[in-house]
């Protein structure tokens, strides 16, 4: 069974902390994505990656960076967490091409105090 695993289900951090959200997929997918989900705003794309060491900005990249050193792992980094980054973060992966469905992880609910 295909699997996208996010390292934490719940995370509580303080303002100014550096935060790492990890995502691992076991489907050998080239594409990986980070979305954040907020009530009334749907899923908004933060960053995505088509290949190892490759990254592209999504619609809301400010305050975030990403790392993809290995094909199966895509990390989202909050350099200095702020309260407005409190959200549900969802990682997803897919095969290459614009017609491929996304497989999502279970999400990380991040609270920044």
């Amino acid at each position: 069974d295909v699997k996208v695993t996010q390292s934490s289900r719940y995370l509580v951090k303080r303002t100014g902390e550096k935060v790492f959200l990890e995502c691992v997929q076991d489907m050998d997918h080239e594409n990986m994505f980070w979305y954040r989900q907020d009530p009334g705003l749907g899923l908004r794309l933060i960053y995505f990656s088509y290949d190892v060491k490759m990254k592209e900005k999504g619609d809301i990249p400010e305050g975030y960076s990403v790392s993809r050193e290995k094909k199966e792992r895509f990390s989202l980094i909050l350099e200095s967490a702020s309260t407005n980054q409190t959200s549900m973060y969802l990682c997803a992966s897919s095969s290459p091409g614009g017609s491929e469905k996304l497989f999502f992880g279970s999400g990380t609910q991040l609270s920044v105090l």
């Binding site: 594409n31 994505f33 979305y35 009334g40 705003l41 749907g42 899923l43 908004r44 794309l45 995505f48 088509y50 592209e56 999504g58 619609d59 969802l90 897919s94 290459p96 091409g97 614009g98 017609s99 491929e100 469905k101 996304l102 497989f103 999502f104 992880g105 279970s106 999400g107």
Partner: protein, 111 residues
């Protein structure tokens, strides 16, 4: 940037009533996908529509893609309590692999 509008934001129905959610884009789409997210869960792929005017059915769910490939709808006939959740459309645009999600329609079904 590319945007997808989805309405309504919420829908409360009595069990057995029908339900429809709509997605609209100002730009022609490569394809559109639909996802369902159960309360407390993550989005799960339902279906993809690629061709102009395409209609697909999954049991009580009917998915349509507009002739101009700019809009889509999901219709549920005779809702059941198991249909509860948030339904998202996700639009794919030409020359990019990224998917842009609609804001979602949260469906509540009362028994």
């Amino acid at each position: 940037g590319q945007q997808v509008m989805q309405i309504p934001q919420y829908q409360h129905v009595q069990e057995g009533e029908d339900f429809t959610t709509y997605c609209n884009s100002s730009t022609t789409l490569s394809n559109i996908q639909w996802y369902k997210q159960r309360p407390g869960g993550h989005p799960v792929f339902l279906i993809q529509l690629v061709k102009s005017g395409e209609v697909k059915k999954q049991k009580r769910l009917t998915f349509q893609f507009g002739e101009a490939k700019k809009n889509s709808s999901l219709h549920i006939t005779a809702t059941q309590t198991t249909d509860v959740g948030t339904y998202f459309c996700a639009a794919a645009f030409y020359n990019t692999d990224k998917l842009i999600f609609g804001t979602g329609t949260r469906l509540q079904v009362f028994p």
